[in-house]
Amino acid sequence: MSTLADDGLADDGPAGVALAGDALAGVPGGPAADGAVAAGLDGPFGQLRARLVDAAAAFAADSAALAEILAGLVDDVAWALAEPLEIFPVCHHSPASALAMARRLREKRPRVIYLELCEDLRPILGELRNCRLPVALQAFAHELEGFPAGVGPLSVVAPITEASAEHQAIAYALETPDVELVLVDWSADHLFQWENHHRPDRADGPPGPAPTGTGEPDHGGPDQDGEEAALHGDAVGVELGDLRPRFAELEEFLLRHGRVRHWSEWWDQYVEQPLSDADHGTYRQALALVGSLFRRLTPAGDGRLARDEERERHMWTRIREHLAASGTDRDDCLYVCGAFHAVSRVPEFGTTPSSSGPVEHSQVEHGQIEHGQAEHGQEAAAAPVAGYEIGPVTPTRWLYGLIPSSNSAIEAQFGLAGGSVSIAAATWAKALARSGVAPFRLAGQPGASTARKAGAGAARKGGRTARPRAASPAAGSANSPAAGGGPGTDAERLSGFLERPPALDGIDEDELLGWCVDIVRLARRNGYLASTADAIAVFETSILLAGLRNRARPTPYDFQDAAVTCIEKDVVPGRRDVRRLCEILLGGDRVGQVGYDALPPLARDVHDRLTPLGLDLSRRTVQRALLDLTAAPELAPCSDLLWMLRYLLPDGAVRPILGVRRLGERSTQESWDLSIGKHQRALIELGYEAVTVEQALEQRLRRTAWDPKATTAVALAAVEDAVTFLGSRRLADELGAHAVELLTGERTVDDAPEVLRRIRRLLDHYRVTEPAALPEWCERFVKEGYAHYCTLLPTAFTADDTGVRQVASMLGFLLTLENLALALGCDRAQLELAVRQSHPREPERTALLWAAQTRLGQLTPAELRARCDDLLTNPLVTGAFPRYLAGFVQALEPVPTLAPFVVEIMSRAFARLPDRVLLPWLPTLITTLRDHAGEHMPTLVREAGRTFPGALPALDAWTAPWSSRPPAPAADASTAGARAGGADAARAARPAAGLVPDLLVAHPATTDAVATLLGLAPAWPATAAPGQPTPAGRDDGATRDGAILLLDRYPETAAAVTGLLAH
């Protein structure tokens, strides 16, 4: 603080005044308008006030403005101190605040503590006993009411560190009988109401940034080890005691004059360290002064001030309500709030009726308002101020819990310099050991003893500075009237504080040497070529840097700079650079953990159900779980749970290494990498969604399927997941029914490939698992789908925005599920008409259409072949032939039997296309096949293997099957139709299947049965009676002819058998 007086605003002369004047333009209750600034000399602060006003007159060109600010600062301190309810100003994550709090609590033993923290978080504070700090209190809501759609889920976190005043207050209140802890700040709901109301432009995003500490990280920030830094997710952060200049120029000014790089360093050097051993009176006044300075220099139009004032109204109203309701004596209470709020001037400030209404600074000095000094006592603990009403909360259901936090997460969220919270933790441990103050701790809290040990260790390391200071001002002043007396009797202690330069410790050589040696060791472990010479250089450079920066002793930040200078070279060899290594060395990133008892039911359930695995799931390392489900079938429930967790938790929490779980597919052996301890936050937040994992999964699936943007494919995927992970027929039916609704409402066919793939898989699954009957929704899906795709087919064939693959999938649905659809009552005529209405222009789609027509019997294979021949011989369209071929490849989806034909035309294309067409096309062919026909490639390759000779010598004698085929008969209208097509196929199959007639004749039962099925009487034209086998090997021409005739009439069977035999 001495810089404020030494190098501060007064030094800057006119510039400083102009700056302050601008800043004050919009400050409510800013400069007193009554010109009484220089007047008041009464009261304990009168002298200091007069001195400051004189100083302003002596140094500033426009002394009035500066005098107003300086006098206002003193007035604010007097104002805060005059309040009968003792206000304890704090700064966040400040060991000095925590130390002062511990001392004050032991001294005063208050019965009620009012704390600036979301009031609805009170019930979960007790759970802190089960946690290792730092953890964050969280309020979470995903089912919103009263907030615009799309802003959720809403989440607020309030991190609690061990080196914080709020933790001291909480521990004291929870561990001391008959002490009440009252949280008075906005509830999470109020907070988001405000954010929402004041940020209409953020309607479609998370509502607003952190209400406190929204600045950018000062220096680097925790850019490495991002996992720990992201522990809070995208929650809005609240913390008690945000204290930082809101005026960029002021911060820059302080940093420049303090010769420091960032705010955390300035605070540490000029406030934290000087105050760590200060008595209560000095601490309170200094903090209130800093709060006042930042409050008064808030720039005009800063929205945060309005929000802070609203919060202050809320807090004071709650305090008054509580005082009135409980009848507690104000002397037994302590109000713990950020220093910024301690000097508030809102009308609701204070606990006496007379303190209502805005107050001018000068009134305090003139003794016109003395916060109920005459009315100490509970009768004065007044009712709430009329005119201010705390707004209602929305019906939103808020859920509360604790999530693990870390030092780096706190730094990242509140814009603190990287490593500052860690350094604060180390300072706290050291200060405890040095001062001998016994901090308050929650009974049973894990990690508390380690902190004590760390403190003792730091004290040992610290050598001579570790001894408790016998002449500690705090210890000495504990019973002095000035420090220990009532809040109204504080003597002025600011002058002494401001006049003295910060009393820093002398150089602690042992500690610095320890750091230097350790950083070199750490650097070596991280790949740096560092040696003892570097340790010496770091030591020397630290001292030189501190000297250059006017410091008697190198701070951790000087040491960090020195280490970077001496060890960091042009490249960072490992994952962490020297700056990060220093942060680790100086405290390390501490990651908190929420204990089992403080976990939500779902998380506890997960831990319980995974117990058979025999792993310690609270560990933050990755653990391998091996599940042999054949040998240990009792692990099957664990496996089921892990698969569900894999679906629900982010990547990395549970990861299967071996084993799959798909529709109808389970592995007998599984191996998992579990990192649940590290992803505790995700598990806890999952616990807000439901009580069991199954319930959470069901909700998640429902939410996915009923999402406004969900498509049929998404709903079918949800069905698949419901069957795979939950095995729930009820849910699957429900989701399936929704999928049917989505399908009928869809106007695009973009998802057709996905829909086809998924419905086929589901149908296969149900046919196997429930052969008796398909689920009702499946039948409806096929029926509706048939009608739906028939309707859209003609448009899809011509629409530019529909891809070939989509059209192929539509045809795939229509043609491959046709049997089922027809059985369910659909009419094939609808499809035939739809195909006839289709008139594509592009070659790919034309090829698709031809394939469909062939399949439907509207085009014979011979005609199709003739058309392709035309394409290859017509020089005008030769160039487009590859595109036709691409269409045929796609047509394998709806018409798989086209595979031999595709191989044939591809071979012919290679044989006949000119190089100028063929060569540029080859790469395209490969990419087309890879992208669109991946699943058809095996069929094509198999077909090619059947067609082409397997060895080189056979090539000479080989003739392509299509070359030896008799010329195609001319297209004849009378032969159009399925029959003609079938006859052709049978003829084509005959040369390759010479033994088929023999087979059929030898075993006529099949043929007879088929004939019966087709509604015909089995009649074998041969002399042999039906059902009487013809002796094998006998050349019975009549039987053979009869069979051939039969086959000619019903060629499908022969084709199918041929195909089977070929396989």
């Binding site: 030494d6 030094d11 250089a537 200078t565």
Partner: protein, 370 residues
């Protein structure tokens, strides 16, 4: 001073250095002319709180902690290596530090592919050797050796441009702090006097050309100078350097703040574009450094002074920008064309001001170059 095209820092700021030396009562390491605190002040400028009787201007703009780290390195046993992108002010900082500490910033070895060990240690005056034999008189000491003899700061520019064996000659100089001259029988060792140190600079874009050996790296403290991205600092630098250039060219011209804004904004835009480019063809070849900005401005000022109306216009600035940044005829011109029409044109329509004129100037320049 007027007889020098560019006076070294110690000449240019001689008055200021003399005055600082006279008021400096801080402890000075070795033979330093100024205490570390005064060196810092000379480089970074004074504040009122320094309570000096005279204003000391800021000469190098950037993070103060970098300067502090550089100064303490020179006061320690190690050499200082300033590393960074081209145009970030490494050489200027080196010059200022040498001038403040030793009052001589001219003991410079320029690292090139042709630099030999002789340039670092010593060479011989061949005619004198023939006439008198090898002696200290016939020896030509290198700037580094001179710095050793005098106990001052020697500089090595572009260290990574010279080959590895040449670089390694520095190792013994920085460790043992002497150079032996085996050719001589007597007086054959030159010991460095206290105060000797080396400031080297290296271009981070040259990494991999001639990598420093681990042994040499150990003897240097590396201080990385980042590219200035803070707009205010950049404006300060451009203003400072331009004023100097104008003085040098004896040109009386006021630089309109709006034009400076246009320049800074256009560079910021182009840097953003370069950062989001996925291939080299999508970004300009230029590093878009602050020095480049100064170059653009200088070019525009000189053009308007000698061929224009002695007043700087946005159009001239645009044509200078195009002329300076378009190095590859097709790729760079295409990027600038895209920038002018995709960014400047809409901005001109929206904000007006000098942007339309800037756009027109850019268009014409591209038309000429295309």
């Amino acid at each position: 001073m007027t007889e020098m095209l560019r006076a070294p820092a110690e000449v240019k700021y001689a008055d200021e250095l003399d005055w600082l030396e006279s008021v400096d009562d801080g402890p000075k390491p070795y033979s330093w002319r100024l205490s570390p605190r005064m060196v810092r002040l000379f480089v970074l400028g004074s504040q009122k709180s320094d309570k000096l009787g005279r204003q000391v201007d800021q000469k190098w703009f950037g993070d103060a902690s970098l300067v502090e780290r550089a100064v303490v390195t020179l006061a320690s046993d190690r050499g200082l290596l300033l590393i960074g992108d081209p145009g970030t002010g490494k050489s200027w900082l080196a010059e200022l530090l040498a001038a403040a500490i030793s009052r001589d910033s001219t003991l410079v070895v320029q690292g090139t592919a042709g630099t030999t060990e002789d340039h670092i240690k010593y060479s011989w005056n061949v005619s004198m050797v023939i006439a008198q034999g090898q002696s200290r008189e016939s020896m030509i000491p290198s700037p580094i050796m001179t710095a050793m003899e005098r106990g001052v700061i020697g500089r090595f520019e572009e260290l990574t441009r010279s080959t590895s064996d040449v670089q390694d000659a520095l190792i013994s100089i920085l460790s043992e702090k002497y150079v032996s001259i085996p050719e001589l029988d007597n007086d054959n060792v030159v010991f460095a006097k206290p105060g000797f140190s080396v400031i080297a600079t290296a271009n981070s874009r040259d990494r991999g050309v001639n990598d420093l050996s681990s042994a040499l790296k150990r003897r240097f403290n590396f201080v990385r100078i980042p590219v200035v991205t803070n707009r205010r600092s950049e404006a300060d630098i451009v203003r400072f350097r331009t004023a100097e250039l104008l003085r040098r060219h004896q040109i009386e011209l006021d630089l309109p703040p709006t034009l400076l804004d246009i320049l800074l904004q256009s560079f910021a835009d182009l840097r953003t574009a370069a950062a989001s480019a996925t291939s080299d063809d999508e970004k300009l070849e230029s590093a878009l450094s602050t020095a480049e900005q100064i170059g653009v401005l200088e070019d525009a000022i000189l053009h308007s002074q000698f061929f224009g109306e002695k007043q700087l216009h946005a159009g001239t600035l645009a044509s200078s920008l195009v002329g300076s940044l378009a190095r590859r005829s097709s790729e760079d011109l295409a990027i600038l064309n895209k920038y002018l029409h995709g960014v400047v044109e809409p901005r001109g329509r929206k904000d007006g001001g000098l942007w339309p004129e800037f756009l027109e100037g850019g268009r014409q320049a591209i038309a000429v170059l295309s």
